[in-house]
């Protein structure tokens, strides 16, 4: 008996041995479920995270972010920096050197021409490429030889890792997409569904919005990888079904984006078939406060900076609204272990995180009441505060989502306690996050007093993200309500900080600037961050090698995944 146990243990240990012993395709079949199904394999045409993740099995960038957020070389031998001479001293050029001998899945060689072509493809004005902003500031790309790519920027670029780094800008093959540039990009169905890539897998069957079948790429650079011979990438259903299929029935090996009630997730995990994995990126659930008047009487000037908001322009009101919220309780109800209460709109990476605002983590209803009282807002007979005939009555909108509706209900109660009347509204996500200028319910038009949603930024550099709250980004009829500055915040000091960051190269200096910007936004109470949200996925207990990555695609290291026996 004992001997048998020992033998079994030895067998297990042997099976668990590093994947290096394994050979390509030895681990059979891998089942992945994304409850939102990818609609195309060409992420440049869709821009969605689900398409990015599906494409990550096939197409790769020059360098990726690893799970800790550091940039690691992928199709190159080293990441260019100023120190190693890859980035010029004036910060205007960056030179990438492709690893020798890389091949596309059709057996042809990967060359610098392909990299240059990817840039041309994505920046074509008629192509509608979803990643084109990653190439902002790129003046030209030179290819002195087959392996060298030199990117020239028009202005000095303190952070030159926009193009070809991370999940948003993988390399596509020039030979395949040569005739699919510009307006034709939309019509190249075969190419868009069956891209040739350098990644570990190739598409064998693509069914839009349903299922993708992959097989191992025979020309993949590491002869022992990937461990799986075939992959099914299934889509459809809902988050709960996806979670169940991994955690409870074990039909699938990996499920993505499980935004579920914490107790539901915990009970599924207790079935013992799989593990919930999470990673904290930059996603923050926040309430935006509208500084403009949205009264329908204003007609075309509704929600523009010409008409300041009747009471939310008073910083005491905004501060009181923030003080009344119990962020820790909300986070516990809505996200459990997969969220953290936060007082910063810039919650990560660590060097950018400010601690100056942490006092908001404790709820203070009394303090909020006192603040309003002192500011002259007096409770009326109906319990609602008013001053000079202006009642504190807010319309609070968000998209339809079970957790958001819980947040709404709880926050409404707390705001009522400080004498603020609240009307709730939830709007279908496809309308709320759309930008149809004909609809009054979009988050950009923001015809409400406060609204709540989650935003984040890709990669690890917050420069563009922090520039969202400049005067030029205010949505207005003049720019068809396109813009990121929902609170309509406009402040000269803030503009100066944004400008300074765009020319600062030193990382510590940049961190200081980002913190200062975050603190300015927070201390003006124009937005109220609530929860720092993790990305949540689930993996089967028989799946090894998964390394949850929030800075890049979750599929970033799929070549290393194995079947633990």
């Amino acid at each position: 008996m004992k001997i048998k146990t020992i033998l079994m243990g030895a067998a297990c240990a042997f099976a668990m041995a590093p994947a290096a012993f394994a050979e390509r395709g030895a681990d059979g079949h891998l089942n992945i479920i994304y409850w939102q199904a990818p609609s195309t394999m060409n992420q440049y045409l869709s821009g969605g995270n689900k398409e990015q993740d599906a494409a990550a099995l096939v197409n790769e960038p020059l360098a990726r972010y690893d799970a800790s957020g550091a940039i690691v070389p992928w199709l190159v031998d080293e990441v260019p920096t100023v120190e190693n001479g890859g980035v010029s001293a004036d910060l205007k050029t960056i030179t990438w050197k492709l690893t020798e001998g890389l091949k596309w899945s059709d057996g042809t060689a990967l060359t610098s021409e392909d990299v240059k072509f990817t840039w041309e493809y994505c920046t074509n004005p008629d192509g509608g490429c979803a990643s084109s902003n990653y190439f902002d500031g790129v003046a030209s790309i030179d290819t002195p030889d087959n392996r060298t790519v030199v990117i020239h920027f028009a202005e000095p670029k303190p952070f030159p890792y926009g193009p070809f780094v991370g999940a948003s800008t993988p390399i596509i093959q020039k030979a395949q997409f040569e005739n699919c540039v510009g307006a034709k990009a939309q019509e190249c169905t075969t190419e868009n569904f069956n891209p040739i890539g350098t990644g570990p897998f190739v598409v064998t069957d693509f069914r839009p919005n349903d299922v993708i079948s992959f097989k191992a790429n025979e020309n993949y650079r590491d002869p022992n990888k990937p461990a799986f011979a075939t992959v099914t990438f299934k889509g459809g259903g809902d988050a709960q079904a996806a979670g169940r299929s991994v955690l409870e029935t074990g039909e699938f090996d990996y499920a993505w984006n499980l935004q579920l009630s914490p107790d539901v997730l915990a009970s599924m995990e207790s079935a013992g078939k799989g593990t919930v994995i999470k990673g904290f990126g930059t996603s923050v659930e926040r309430i935006m406060i509208n500084l403009t008047d949205v009264s329908p009487d204003l007609g075309d000037e509704r929600g523009t900076i010409k008409h300041p908001h009747p009471f939310l322009t008073d910083i005491n009101v905004r501060k009181a609204l923030s003080m009344a919220i119990d962020r820790a309780l909300l986070t516990k109800i809505g996200y459990g272990e997969t969220g953290k209460p936060t007082c910063n709109v810039l919650p990560a990476p660590a060097i950018y995180v400010s601690t100056a605002n942490d006092s908001c983590l404790t709820q203070d209803i009394e303090g909020a009441n006192k603040l309003l009282e002192d500011a002259g807002w007096v409770k009326g007979s109906d319990g609602i505060r008013a001053k000079d005939g202006v009642r504190l009555s807010v319309l609070y909108q968000t998209s339809t989502n079970a957790v958001r509706q819980k947040y709404q209900a709880a926050i409404k109660q707390w705001w009522n306690q400080i004498g603020v009347e609240v009307e709730l509204r939830n709007i279908s996500a496809s309308v709320f996050f759309g930008s149809d200028p004909g609809s009054n319910d979009t988050f950009q038009k923001f015809f409400a007093d406060v609204e709540m949603y989650t935003n984040n930024f890709n990669g690890t550099d917050p420069e563009n993200y922090m520039a969202s709250w400049t005067c030029a980004q205010i949505p207005s009829p003049e720019n068809q309500w396109q813009g990121n500055n929902m609170p309509r915040f406009c402040n000269e000091d803030y503009e100066a900080l944004v400008k300074e960051m765009s020319v600062t190269g030193d990382i510590n200096k940049r961190a200081e600037l980002a913190k200062a910007m975050n603190d300015m936004l927070m201390q003006n109470y124009i937005m109220l961050p609530i929860t720092h949200r993790a990305s949540v996925s689930a993996r089967s207990n028989t799946l090894g090698g998964v390394d949850m990555n929030v800075w890049d695609s979750q599929m970033w290291n799929v070549a290393d995944w194995t079947r633990a026996k």
Binding site: N42, G47, N133, Q186, T189, G236, S435
Partner: protein
Amino acid sequence: MLTFTIRRLLLAIPTLLFIALVIFSLLKLAPGDPTANVPLTVPPEVKAKMREALGLGQPNYVQFYKWLVQFFIIEPQVMIDHFFGTDFADGKLRVISWQWRGPVMDVVVQRLPQTLWVVGLSYVVGAMIAIPIGVISAYKQYSWFDQIGTFISMIGFSVPTFFTGLLLIVIFSVYLGWFPSIYDTTLVVNDWPSFVKQLKQIAMPVFVLALYNAAQISRFMRASMLDNLNQDYVRTARAKGLSERVVVLVHVLRNSMIPVVTVIALGVPGVFGGAIITEQVFKVNGIGDMLIKAIEANDLPTVQTLTFIFAFLIVIFNLIADILYGILDPRIRYD
């Protein structure tokens, strides 16, 4: 009857064109944006470019005209090419989805098998059990059979399918592990084991939908039978000495079929339209799933095409129902 059929068929053409126009205007008017699902990390000006690339900048009448040409001229050509190996449609632009930038009809063809398997089969099963239940319930009104039948059929449509579906999954997939909780659309049925596998994966969705359909049809069947059982002609037939079997199953049943035919004719187009909720619960990814996803993504060409096919089927099946009325009850004339 023949002239009636021909007249109605001719009349169907302007009707369908009008329906197409109404659907198009409705979709245009509805708030929504095909880039709504693109993450917020993509800047608004890039989204504007993406919309432009989809052809949203064109005037509405041009978009509608383009769809008409693509759907009524190019798609049939593609079909002819497919069957006869001709090349009428070479290089012509088909109806292209805004989600996957590929032909809408290709995906319809891809989705049709699972929809027919699940929704079609459940309709057939539903109708086949509903008609006998309706007949017996009416003939033995207020018997225990009738009471149980009524009760079950009430449960069948008062409990929403998303709930019954979920319950079945929890019982049969999670606890018992008999059936898969996720439908495999890539399964090819070519031998006995794969057929068994197919039966296993359609068992739960077919049961849920069949219960729902049977509930509805059996109620109409029962009510209509009850109306007819007390008619004078039934007494006459009995008085003539016809056997009870003949009276009920020939005379009464035939005269009671009119509302049931109507309900079934209304339901058959629904089979092709898929059962949105059930398909979602069991991850069948059929046509219903395709439609709801397209609506959520504001994929106008796909929604327009699917709803139009649906409209076409409705018009045709309502015509068939009208013709059947005349056959079931020869006194009904349309001329």
